[in-house]
Amino acid sequence: MNNPLRRRRSLAAALTAALAVALAATLAACAADSSGSPSASQEATGPRPTAGDQLRLVLSRQLTSVNPHKGGSPDSQGAVVGSVYEALTAISPETEVVPSLATSWKQLSDLEWSFTIRTDAVFSDGTPLTADTIVWNFQQLLDPNYKGTSGAPLRKFVGSVTSPDPTTILFHLTAPAIDLPGRLWNDYIVDPTFAQSHNIDTESLGSGPYKIDQLDLENGATLSLNPHYAGPKPQFSSVKYTVLASEAQRVAAIQAGEADIVLNVEPLSLDAFEDSTTYDTILGVGPQPLVLAINEEKTGTPLADVRVRQALNYATDKKTIIHGLFKDAVEPLPGQVLFEPYQQEDPDVKAYPYDPKKAKKLLTEAGYADGFSLEVDVPSGTYVSADLASQAIAAQWAEVGVKLTITQTPFPAWIDRQYGDVQKGADLVYIMWGGQYRDGFQLFDPFTSDHIQSDVVAPTFDDLVRRLQAATDEKAQRELVDEAVQNYYDEAHTVFLYPSPFTAVISRAVTWEPRPSRYLYAQEVGRA
């Protein structure tokens, strides 16, 4: 699959206006044709800047730790950890599951998988990475008393991990998992001796392309090459990750020429770089769907009525929000959380159109002709333009008689409330769910009733997802996917909004295949 994101180049200020406009129009058309992305593109001319000795990458959130067993957001330590450690599998920029420590894998039965591993992997201190090393790591992750948290999802379906010989790892499952390889991409492998004698929250020893020289969880990290790395040598011998948590900081860093790649810039801020001869910009579709998650479990909530949930979907004018805030970079979700170009959509299901009259009619049928009040929880500073988007939704819903109160809280408080008492939770939550790899039915997990952050009542959908995980026949899988999509649409268990926009500003001195999942791995950046 082609990468859906393509760089767009800004026009050189030195060109004449007419030539610039003509060139921009031509290139915009070309780029649109080649990528299918709704984003326009412009090409800069003039001398290409030269990259310095050190690669400068910008992260938008502080690092929580560099513990390989604690996962990590793509916008913070996820990028650093993925440059230092290796896992059995990896996710390509095209969102495919690809080999990493494992060279191949196969499903031996419903409950057993075999992975063949490389024998040339070496930690940065020269210690070999063996099958026993991998088994020890998974033993830790599967231990319910272990402090590493990334093993928790595995414990749902992995019973044990063994190694019958130096090149084979066997996974013995307790429940079928057809997408097991994709679920292992961030279970990174650390040297057992090191892990037991060091604080791996702040110290690291991985087998990846880089090693950490300096770490400041608040401000970033400096990396240098792992001399024992078995893979292709990265093009930059030194890398500096800098945490710039605010939009203003990120924009200033670009304008001062102090960064090579910056992600998570507000779509409207990209206009500032239209005339830059130093930077290209990308505005495209990210792989994560944004929705308003519905609390159906609250006693006496009108949201228990399917007609009300459908009405809210009809009352939401997604296109206007996308046009005003995201510069038309994305399309409304097609009535499902699967969407092109990342997943195969169910073509029979389409987006709920904006139809306030129909919304009003449904509300009247449900007995809410006079409207009612709802509350939505929005995390501050987490999702692109979430505050403005929620205000727009509140205004749109007011037209059909639904008064939406917006509660904006810092991320920790936002999370707290979702894990807390369902009766005290908000009616709706503005949330983005991440599917990191294509064909991963993991994407359905957050929408099931038993998910840790879910408050829906969707027994039919739950059953379909369970059957899907156990399905081995490809045709049966597809039928179950379509059935699950149709069910969720009909029941309107969520308010479908739009995919997250993906934005990036990239120095012309470097090359980078845009990774829509936002993991900014240093080894994937080259010199132009």
Partner: protein
């Protein structure tokens, strides 16, 4: 007569030296120091206790560690593993016991003793604070002096008006504005990170701007008060020159109040440079504490509060002593 002049200029004999030291030791008497230290200790304990209950009653840090695709029981497991399932008073008693044994609970993010982590950052905060405070005191003091003693309306009003206008600009806005002008447009300074002495300029300047108005206003008021005092009128009647009058009889006697304000500002600096440190990525304790709050790293937050509170108490004690040394009237 200026009180500074009342002190012996130099101890010519041993007896005179003892008398001179006694004069200085008055504010440093054990009773005075003991009282201040005890008050400070209670203040520190109060601050830490308040923050403890405010934090532990309002959220569970374990929830932030739960993987998004973890099973529902994972939140409960982590909460129990980290001990956050126990009643808050019980957690407080455990915490106090640990603190009294000098054994703070580990930082959730860093997985290590939070005391060295916080202390390691203190140096950067002090460095930034010293620059900001020095700049602020010099500029604020100059503006205050000019506005109180200037000969023309321009020198009396314009600098102070500018300082007062600066007071209305939020720190974050000034920081962004200074970055835009000095780093982005002019390219004189780095826009991100603490890259050597140059990296200190923008945050130092931003911090200084927060002090200038307060120092200028207080110093001006003190100067004006002293200028109208009886002893100054008397000194003026002796025919003393203006410059000498200001130096010997006015400025010194105006420093006490100003020093108190500077002391409070310096105390605030320890934890109050949060915004400046965050804007410029300055690796100080202010940035550490705000990030610890955002990540619900409660043990680290409490240690940051402890360090800041102790620093605040010590700075205020030092300022009180200095003020008493400079202005003996304050000793009573």
């Amino acid at each position: 007569m200026a009180l500074l002049d009342a002190r012996p200029a130099a101890p010519p004999t041993l007896t005179a030296l003892v008398a001179w030291l006694r004069g200085l030791r008055l504010p440093l008497s054990p009773r005075y120091l003991g009282g201040r230290l005890l008050t400070g200790l209670v203040a520190v304990w109060g601050a830490v206790t308040l923050v403890f209950f405010a934090l532990y009653s309002t959220g569970n840090p374990a929830l932030l560690l739960v993987a998004p695709d973890a099973p529902p029981e994972e939140a409960e497991r982590l909460t129990r593993l980290m001990g956050f399932d126990r009643p808050v008073p019980e957690q407080y008693v455990t915490f106090l016991g640990q603190v009294l044994r000098g054994n703070f609970p580990d930082s959730i993010r860093y997985g290590a003793d939070p005391v060295p982590i916080a202390l390691e950052r203190l140096g950067a905060s002090l460095e930034l604070g010293a620059v900001g405070l020095t700049l602020g005191v010099l500029v604020g003091g100059t503006i205050g002096y000019l506005s109180a003693t200037g000969r023309s309306v321009w020198t009396r009003r314009v600098p102070l008006s500018i300082a007062v206008a600066l007071d209305g600009i939020p720190t974050f806005f000034f920081g962004i504005l200074a970055t835009l002008v000095l780093a982005v447009w002019l390219g004189w300074l780095p826009a991100t990170g603490s890259t050597g002495p140059l990296g200190l300029v923008l945050p130092g300047l931003t911090l200084a701007v927060a002090f200038v108005p307060a120092v200028a206003r207080v110093f001006r008021t003190a100067l004006v008060d002293v200028l109208h005092a009886d002893h100054v009128r008397t000194a003026r009647a002796t025919g003393i020159g203006r410059g000498r009058l200001l130096r010997r009889h006015v400025v010194g006697n105006s420093l006490g109040t100003t020093l108190n304000v500077v002391g409070i500002q310096a105390g605030v600096l320890l934890g109050g440079a949060v915004v400046t440190e965050s804007i410029f990525g300055w690796p100080g304790i202010g940035q550490l504490s705000i990030n610890a709050v955002q990540n619900r790293d409660y043990p680290l937050v409490i240690v940051c509060v402890l360090v800041i509170a102790v620093g605040f108490v010590l700075i205020n004690l030092l300022v009180d002593v200095l003020a008493a040394v400079i202005e003996p009237r304050l000793r009573s």
